[in-house]
């Protein structure tokens, strides 16, 4: 085994021991408990994230009436679902869904990461806040989408939505063909954050 790999293994073991020591001391002093890390990270791992958006989109795919309500009044429709508190209020109160359809592709961009529809989409990828991405996506969305591996034909209209403190957009992608037999839960697994941003489409597994 080369030295290159040895360094990596050492670092893993070394840092694992460092953080175990810190955690043990902080617990011993009563500053944190053995549940603290899980509790604080629960917010990202189970409460606010793209799994919520996936549930919303999957429901829209199986229930056309829900989809209609979702587009008409997004927070109200989201509130129908059994999602964590705060999804349709506080952080997400100005949420607006736009639906892709034959002939329409939607793309969302935003200037400030605080305006990203985080409760539904989770954390934005690193390129999302890049000023180049934002300005180019607004100016030449087709070229940017093509670079993402998503060429959009000329017959399809591309709509770009700029999120702000007032409105946070997310995309309801089209249900992929060949998924008629899938359950709502199986459909959730096909909904990616990228598809809900409009830089990708949902695909059958």
């Amino acid at each position: 085994m080369s030295e290159r790999f040895k360094y990596r293994e050492d670092r893993e073991a070394h840092n694992a021991a460092r953080v175990r020591a810190l955690e043990a001391l902080l617990i011993k002093k009563g500053i944190i408990t053995d549940r603290t890390v899980d509790t604080v990270l629960e917010y990202f791992e189970t409460k606010m994230g793209p799994f919520n958006g996936a549930k919303i989109v999957a429901r829209a795919w199986v229930d056309p009436d829900f989809k209609r309500r979702l587009i008409e009044d997004t927070p109200k429709a989201i509130a129908e679902l059994d999602l964590p508190d705060g999804m349709a209020g506080a952080e997400g109160e100005h949420m607006r869904a736009v639906a892709n359809a034959p002939g329409i592709h939607n793309l969302i961009i935003c200037t400030l990461c605080s305006c990203y529809p985080w409760p539904v989409l989770g954390l934005p990828p690193y390129w999302y806040k890049d000023p180049t991405f934002r300005s180019r996506a607004a100016r030449e969305p087709r070229a940017v989408l093509a670079e993402f591996g998503l060429p959009i034909s000329e017959e399809v209209e591309v709509k770009v939505w700029d999120s702000s403190a007032q409105i946070r957009w997310f995309v309801v992608p089209e249900r992929p063909a060949g998924t008629e037999s899938l359950s709502e839960m199986e459909l959730e697994a096909l909904v990616t954050p990228e598809a809900m941003m409009g830089v990708a489409v949902a695909k059958a597994a």
């Binding site: 460092r18 953080v19 043990a24 603290t36 890390v37 990270l41 705060g86 954390l123």
Partner: protein, 115 residues
């Protein structure tokens, strides 16, 4: 607008030098120690043991120092290496733990080395 501390804390970092790795809409941890480091720092700041901004100053300084020490070869870069170093430094500076306590528990095999 940002009513949740967790949300605020991470949103502040995005697009900055200390922006944490993420994938598919969530924080991206390569191993358990990375996750634990992040969770401890966030929890301590949430409980008010130190200011998140002060912790971030430590982290950004730690990242800057690493970059200065590795001007061309970034192959050994690990974000959470720097994060853990900043966390050790923060708990010592705020007197939550003493350097001697960390070293004692850490034993002779390695050395915690808060600046």
């Amino acid at each position: 607008m940002l009513t949740q501390f967790e949300h605020f804390a991470v949103a502040e970092m995005l697009g900055k030098p200390d922006s944490p790795p993420r994938a598919n809409g969530t924080l991206c941890f390569g191993s358990e120690w990375e996750r634990t480091s992040f969770g401890i720092a966030l929890a301590l700041a949430k409980e008010g043991y130190f200011e998140w901004d002060d912790f971030r100053d430590e982290l950004i300084a730690s990242i800057g120092k690493w970059e200065g020490d590795h001007p061309s070869d970034h192959s050994s870069w690990n974000y959470y290496d720097q994060f853990l170093t900043a966390l050790e430094s923060a708990v010592v500076k705020t007197n939550l733990l003493a350097i001697s306590e960390i070293r004692e528990l850490f034993g002779v095999s390695g050395q915690a080395n808060p600046q």
